[in-house]
């Protein structure tokens, strides 16, 4: 079961998971901790801090998920564990 290829597959899957988790923490929490500072920047009437919570982070989440699906699939194929 635990062949070297499987181990390398799982390591890559884990790294991808941690990258996604890091981005999730950043867009879910970290950026909103600076809302007051960001609100001093105003674009099209949007205070930037408000914008990030209302739209910016949401767009990031959607893009992240499509990227993740592609990336994880590439890892599957590289290691020959994709579904036939």
């Amino acid at each position: 079961m635990a062949t070297p290829d499987r181990i390398s597959y799982w390591n890559k899957t884990k790294s991808l998971m941690f990258v996604m988790l890091g981005l999730w923490v950043f867009f879910g929490y970290v950026i909103h901790m600076f809302v007051e500072q960001l609100n001093t920047i105003v674009i099209f009437g949007f205070p930037l801090g408000f914008y990030m919570a209302a739209q910016g982070s949401l767009i990031a989440f959607v893009v992240m998920l499509f990227w993740f699906a592609r990336r994880q699939n590439a890892i599957d194929e590289e290691h020959g564990v994709n579904e036939e």
């Binding site: 079961m1 635990a2 499987r6 597959y9 799982w10 899957t13 991808l16 998971m17 996604m20 988790l21 981005l23 999730w24 867009f27 879910g28 929490y29 909103h32 901790m33 809302v35 007051e36 609100n39 674009i43 099209f44 009437g45 949007f46 205070p47 801090g49 408000f50 914008y51 919570a53 209302a54 739209q55 982070s57 949401l58 767009i59 989440f61 959607v62 992240m64 998920l65 499509f66 993740f68 699906a69 994880q72 699939n73 599957d76 020959g80 564990v81 994709n82 579904e83 036939e84």
Partner: protein, 621 residues
């Protein structure tokens, strides 16, 4: 025998024609809206338009439900596992976006300004956790229900049973909120009593899910998504066009925010819409904890996770999570704009010079809502049923000119009332009501199915009678579905709390009870049965304890003082305590007890790779 009824919908022909079928359906729905607009212009009464909107859409869902009826186990529990990623995404969108998203969220954003955005973030970001930590692995395992996975991974029926208890608690709390929402809509737009309206809403829910299980729910949810998204976007686009001349509310929200700030300053309102951490007791701590609880709850709610059991493959399950979030995003990034335009409209109304005497003439819609339920609109602290009542209430307080703060609108009515507030024709109100109904019905269907499946599959079939024939299992499931639904309707008729709080409690219960066991089950081989059972009990127990003690107190009497909040954490974020305790107990107990067997470790290896057959195979009929 098993497959004879599986041809009407869900068969090969149907799946390959999905685009065409739903395309025609969408066109038909738009034609119906135009027809209603014409009828309305010809002088047909408002209440008739309301009935037609709600009646027509419910009939459509019922027809889809009946066409998708099935007596095949795989079809009933997981829609035959052939729902393409994109359509599963749409169905998940409808499953996910409930009365809380459709009715409650923009209203909360209206009242809470920036601090309401915690709901927007919390209910979207959780899908990242669903995709990277849980869904693809449960799909590979091939479960019918979430407790199925717990039982296989943590060897035995104890883990399964606790899983069912958590599932029941969170899904039931959640479904009560949905039935409450359908009752609210029916009461206002059909003009029937709230207590009766709750049961009318219930009938609508049952026709969709009872006959066809997951298959019927999937295809009605796709139809419901289309209705709810059209119904949500049109009023927002309308307001944006009227106010700014540009029909893109999400973009023009910036201009709305600038105007809101200017009007607030002019009217001497100290707490601005855009200022963070000042509204409704949401300091920074409660804001971030709420986001955490909602996100983690997303990745633990069984009715959401089970949607990914219906995709044809692990790969499709991953893509499907991304589609789900895209479809959800379309509504969620419109909600703050919806709220901003509604607030701008209200501030403009106040700026036009409101007095207790002229408000009935300038904003007659407030009186109509106050008449439907006297808690919905209060002016000068009293129900605003007519001019006399308002004048009397304001005279008592010495108010002669009404300010923004004198008018108290309930969060749950703002979206439904916005078309009237902004002076749109009644046909838009009817459309919004149909959309709110679609949102509540679709989520209630998913939830009731999750509960009934857990009771029939996990309790009845797996724990009580392993030899039960298929037909009996499916009949048991349907009977349980109706019983749970009636019980939920009864609880909803007692109006336990507002929609958004009830839904948030469900998220915390799921997060505290299930998240550690699900995630560590896949990602930590050392997690064992004893650890998982202890962790689930501890995590769920603390969450439930905090929730009940702070909401009702030990004596279950709302009137007497309840337990003090711990460190000021609101009880909608109860999983703040349950989650770390659940993880800690599960890890410590696992390490103190025996490591899982070699077989179990191989089982985990197998779950982690997409290739190979799914691990749980169902014997057919």
């Amino acid at each position: 025998m098993a497959n004879t009824t599986a041809t009407t919908a869900g068969g090969g022909d149907f799946t390959s024609n999905l685009g065409r079928i739903y395309g025609i359906y969408t066109g038909g729905f738009i034609a119906f809206i135009i027809l209603m607009a014409v009828l309305s212009a010809m002088g047909v009464e408002n209440v008739v338009i309301g009935y037609l909107f709600m009646g027509f859409t419910i009939v459509i869902y019922a027809v889809i439900g009946i066409l998708s009826r099935t007596m095949h186990v795989g079809e009933y529990y997981v829609a035959g596992r052939r729902v393409p990623a994109l359509y599963n995404g749409m169905a998940t969108g409808a499953d996910w976006m409930s009365a809380a998203s459709f009715i409650g969220m923009a209203g909360s954003l209206y009242l809470l300004g920036y601090d309401g955005l915690g709901f927007v973030l919390g209910w979207t970001g959780g899908y990242v956790l669903v995709a990277i930590l849980v869904a693809p692995y449960l799909r590979k395992f091939g479960a019918y229900t979430v407790p199925d996975f717990l039982s296989a991974r943590y060897g035995g029926n104890l883990a399964r049973f606790i899983g069912v208890i958590v599932l029941f608690s969170c899904s039931f709390t959640y479904v009560v909120a949905q039935i409450f929402g359908t009752g609210l809509i029916s009461a206002r737009f059909l003009g029937i009593d709230f207590n009766v309206a709750v049961y009318v809403g219930l009938a609508g829910i049952l026709v969709c899910s009872m006959l066809g299980g997951m298959r019927a729910v999937t295809w009605t949810q796709v139809a419901q998504y289309i209705v709810l998204i059209i119904a949500y976007l049109i009023p927002a686009i309308w307001m944006s066009t009227v106010k700014t001349g540009v029909p893109i509310p999400q973009l023009m929200q910036g201009q709305a925010l600038a105007n809101i700030t200017a009007l607030e300053t002019a009217q001497g309102i100290a707490v601005h819409h855009i200022t963070p951490f000042v509204h409704g007791g949401y300091d920074a701590k409660n804001y971030f904890l709420l986001i955490l609880c909602l996100m983690v709850g997303t990745a633990s709610l069984p009715h959401v996770l089970m949607r990914y059991f219906t995709t044809p493959s692990v790969r499709e399950a991953r893509v499907s999570v991304a589609w789900s979030l895209l479809f959800i995003f379309i509504l969620y990034f419109t909600a703050p704009a919806y709220a901003a335009f509604a607030k701008w409209t209200m501030l403009d109304l106040v700026a036009s010079g409101l007095t207790p005497e002229n408000i009935a003439e300038k904003a007659g819609w407030m009186m109509r809502w106050a008449a439907a339920d006297n808690t919905l609109v209060q002016i000068c602290g009293k129900a605003a049923t007519d001019t006399a009542a308002i004048v009397a209430a304001c005279a008592e307080k010495g108010v002669t000119a009404l300010s923004f703060a004198d008018i108290n609108l309930n969060a749950d009515m703002i979206v439904l009332a916005t078309p009237e507030m902004a002076g749109m024709p009644y046909v838009i109100s009817g459309l919004v009501a149909a959309g709110g109904l679609a949102a509540a019905l679709s989520t209630a269907d998913g939830l009731l199915l999750a509960i009934a499946n857990a009771l029939s599959h996990d309790i009845y079939y797996k724990m009580i009678d392993q030899n039960a024939p298929t037909s009996r299992r499916l009949i048991v499931s349907r009977i349980l579905l109706v019983m749970v639904a009636v019980l939920a309707a009864y609880v909803a008729s007692t109006k336990p709390s507002d929609i958004l709080s009830m839904v948030s409690w469900a998220f915390s219960l799921a997060a505290g009870g299930l998240f550690p066991a699900l995630v560590l089950g896949v990602w930590w081989k050392r997690a064992n049965s004893t650890g998982a059972v202890a962790g689930m009990i501890a995590g769920f127990g603390i969450t439930l304890f905090y929730l009940i003690m702070t909401q009702y107190g030990a004596d279950f009497d709302k009137a007497t003082p309840n337990m003090e909040l711990w460190w000021g954490v609101k009880n909608i974020s109860s999983a703040t305590f349950g989650l770390p305790v659940g993880f800690a107990v599960m890890i410590i107990v696992s390490l103190l007890t025996k490591a899982p067997s070699r077989d179990m470790q191989d089982f985990i290896e197998e779950i982690r790779v997409p290739r190979g057959k799914q691990l749980m195979e169902e014997k057919i009929a």
